[in-house]
C-alpha cells in the first residue's frame, strides 16, 4: 500500500498538492494529527483505566490488608474456587470448541441449522440464562430434580453444597461461552488452505493424522491466544457467580470479584475489596502483556 514517501510522486502540476496530502506529512505533524483524533480515547483510558489501576496499586501497598486477607479462610477458599472455576471451565470449553468447530466445518443442512441455533446462548444476555439455570437447579421446584428423580437418581440440593454449586457455575459458563469460542476457532479453521488437506488425503492420511499434522499445528497459536484471553476474562467474572450462588452456601463459592463485592459493600471494607483484586493483579498483568505481545 502506498504511503509515506512512496506516494509523494515528484514533479508536474500536482507537486504542491502532494506535499499537502496525508501521505506526505512529516512524522511530527502526523503524530499531532493522530493524537488529536485519538484524544477522546486517551482521556477515557487515563481517567477510567490508568487512574483506577493506580488507585488499586497504591492501596495494595498497605501490608496490613494482606495480613487480614491471608488469615481469612474465606479468602483462601475463594482463591481455590477461582482457580478451579477458571482452570476447568476455560479449558473444557476450549477443548470442546476445538472439537465442535471441526464438526461444524463441514457444510450441510444439519450443521447450518446447528450453527444457527448454537448462537443463541451467546446472543441472550447473561442474566436470563443464569436465572433459568438457577431455577432449574432449585431443589424443590426445579426441573433438574424432576429429571433426576425420573432417572432413579433421587433429588439433590444442587446449589446448596460447594462443589455441585461450582460445577453448576462451570456448566453454565460452558453453555454460555462455548458458541463464541467455537465460532472463533471455526474462523481459524476456515483460514487453513484446503490444498493442505487435499495433499494429506492424497498421502492417505486419516482423520486423526490430518488433525495431528495439519489442523493442530496450524491452530495451536490461536488456541493458545484464546485460552489466555478467556482465562483473563473469566478471572474477573462477577455476574455469573453473583446471580447463580451469590457466594452461598456460607460464602463457600465466591470468586475474586464476588468476594471483593462482599468485602466492600456487605462489610464496608473497601481496602479489603481492592486488596482482593490487587493480589490477583500481578498474574493478570503478566497474562495481559503476553497476550498484547502475541496479538499485536
Amino acid at each position: 500500500m502506498a504511503d509515506g514517501v512512496a506516494s509523494a510522486r515528484p514533479g508536474g502540476l500536482f507537486s504542491r498538492g502532494v506535499t499537502a496530502a496525508a501521505g506526505a506529512l512529516s512524522p511530527r505533524s502526523r503524530n499531532v494529527q493522530g493524537l488529536a483524533f485519538s484524544l477522546p480515547l486517551i482521556l477515557l483510558f487515563l481517567a477510567f483505566v490508568v487512574y483506577p489501576l493506580y488507585f488499586e496499586v497504591t492501596q495494595a501497598l498497605d501490608r496490613y490488608t494482606y495480613e487480614v486477607l491471608f488469615n481469612d479462610p474465606i479468602y483462601v477458599q475463594t482463591i481455590v474456587n477461582t482457580l478451579v472455576y477458571v482452570g476447568v471451565a476455560v479449558n473444557v470449553k476450549l477443548f470442546l470448541a476445538l472439537l465442535l468447530s471441526g464438526l461444524l466445518e463441514s457444510e450441510g443442512r444439519a450443521t447450518r441449522f446447528l450453527s444457527a441455533i448454537f448462537l443463541l446462548p451467546w446472543a441472550i444476555p447473561v442474566l436470563p440464562g443464569i436465572l433459568s439455570v438457577r431455577w432449574m437447579m432449585s431443589s424443590q421446584w426445579g426441573i433438574l430434580n424432576l429429571i433426576s428423580e425420573d432417572l432413579g437418581l433421587g433429588t439433590h440440593h444442587w446449589l446448596a453444597s460447594r462443589w455441585t454449586a461450582i460445577g453448576a457455575l462451570i456448566l453454565f459458563h460452558i453453555w454460555k461461552y462455548l458458541p463464541f469460542w467455537t465460532v472463533i476457532i471455526l474462523a481459524a479453521r476456515r483460514g487453513i488452505p484446503p490444498q493442505l488437506y487435499e495433499a494429506a488425503a492424497i498421502d492417505g492420511a486419516g482423520v486423526f493424522q490430518t488433525f495431528r499434522y495439519i489442523s493442530f499445528p496450524l491452530l495451536a497459536g490461536i488456541y493458545l491466544i484464546c485460552s489466555l484471553l478467556s482465562m483473563v476474562f473469566t478471572l474477573g467474572d462477577f455476574t455469573n457467580v453473583q446471580l447463580m450462588t451469590g457466594g452461598a452456601p456460607g460464602d463457600s463459592t465466591h470468586v475474586l470479584a464476588t468476594l471483593a463485592y462482599r468485602y466492600t459493600f456487605r462489610l464496608g471494607k473497601i481496602d479489603w475489596g481492592v486488596g482482593v483484586f490487587a493480589t490477583a493483579l500481578p498474574v493478570t498483568l503478566l497474562f495481559i502483556f503476553i497476550l498484547i505481545k502475541k496479538i499485536k
Binding site: F45, F55, E56, L114, L131, W141, T284
Partner: protein
C-alpha cells in the same frame, strides 16, 4: 452428536420460555411441558401489575437511555480513533493501539471498586453519567478494532487525492472516511448499544434508586426476595432478550471479526 449439542443448547432457553408461560398456580409443580400455557405473565409485566415490576417501563426507558448514549459516545470515540490508527498512521499509533488492547483484555471487574470510589468522589454515583463513562471506556476498544480492520482496506489514494484537492484532515474524516465506513459504524454502534444493555456489574454498583436502575439490575433485585415470582421474572427475561438476539443474528458476520480473527490472520 448434533442432536446432543442442539438439546444442550436449547434446554435452558426452552425452560425459560416454559416458565414465562406458566400460570401462578402451576409454578411450584415442576413438569416437562407446561400444562396450562398462558400469556398473563407478559400482561402483568407490560401493565406493571405486580410490585416486582411496577417500574418496568421506567427500567426499560433507563436501559434504552444509557445504551443509546453509550452507542453515540462509542461511535464518536472509535470512529476518530480508527481514523487516527488506520488512515493517519502516526508513529505513536502503536502506543494508542496497545492502550486499547489493554483496556479490552483487562477484566472490567478489576477496575470496578476504584471506579466506584472515583465516581463517589466526583458525586456522580446514582447518575447515568457514571455508567455511560464506564461502558464507553470498555466498549470502545472492540468497536475501534473492528473499524480499524475495515479502515485498513480502504486505499490510501482516496485520502491523498482528497488532500490534493485541498481537503484537511477534518473534512477527509467527515466527508470521505465516515461515509465509507457507515455500514461498519452501524454494526459497531449496535454492538455498543447491547454491550451497555447487557451490563450488570457496573449498573448494580453505580445505580441505586429503584426508579434509576436499568432492566438487568431490576431483574437481579428479584433475587433478594424469597417469594420472587419466577414466572414473571422469566417473562421479563424473554422481553429483555429479544432485542439482542435479533441483533446478534443480523450482525454475526461482523461480531466474529475484529480482535481475535485479526490474530487468526496474523499467526
Amino acid at each position: 452428536m448434533l442432536a446432543l449439542v442442539a438439546g444442550w443448547t436449547l434446554f435452558p432457553i426452552y425452560y425459560m420460555v416454559s416458565l414465562a408461560i406458566t400460570p401462578w398456580s402451576d409454578l411450584f409443580r415442576p413438569v416437562y411441558f407446561v400444562t396450562h400455557p398462558t400469556l398473563d405473565n407478559f400482561k402483568f409485566v407490560l401493565f406493571q401489575e405486580s410490585p416486582f415490576v411496577k417500574y418496568f417501563w421506567r427500567w426499560l426507558a433507563n436501559s434504552l437511555l444509557v445504551s443509546s448514549a453509550v452507542m453515540v459516545a462509542v461511535l464518536a470515540v472509535a470512529a476518530m480513533g480508527s481514523y487516527a490508527l488506520g488512515r493517519i498512521r502516526f508513529g505513536l499509533g502503536r502506543l494508542v493501539s496497545g492502550m486499547t488492547l489493554f483496556t479490552y483484555i483487562i477484566p472490567a471487574s478489576f477496575l470496578s471498586i476504584p471506579f466506584f470510589k472515583i465516581m463517589g468522589d466526583y458525586d456522580l454515583l446514582d447518575t447515568y453519567w457514571a455508567l455511560i463513562f464506564a461502558m464507553t471506556t470498555f466498549a470502545a476498544p472492540y468497536a475501534l478494532w473492528v473499524l480499524w480492520d475495515y479502515a485498513k482496506t480502504i486505499p490510501a489514494e482516496i485520502d491523498e487525492s482528497a488532500a490534493i484537492d485541498g481537503a484537511g484532515p477534518l473534512s477527509i474524516f467527515f466527508r470521505i472516511y465516515l461515509p465509507l465506513v457507515t455500514p461498519t459504524l452501524i454494526a459497531v454502534g449496535t454492538y455498543a448499544f447491547f454491550f451497555a444493555w447487557n451490563e450488570y456489574l457496573y449498573a448494580v454498583l453505580l445505580l441505586q434508586g429503584e426508579s434509576m436502575i436499568t432492566l438487568p439490575v431490576g431483574m437481579g433485585n428479584f433475587l433478594t426476595s424469597d417469594d420472587a415470582p419466577w414466572n414473571l421474572l422469566m417473562a421479563l427475561s424473554v422481553i429483555y432478550s429479544i432485542p439482542p438476539v435479533i441483533f446478534y443474528y443480523i450482525f454475526r458476520r461482523y461480531l466474529t471479526h475484529g480482535l481475535v480473527s485479526g490474530a487468526v490472520q496474523g499467526t
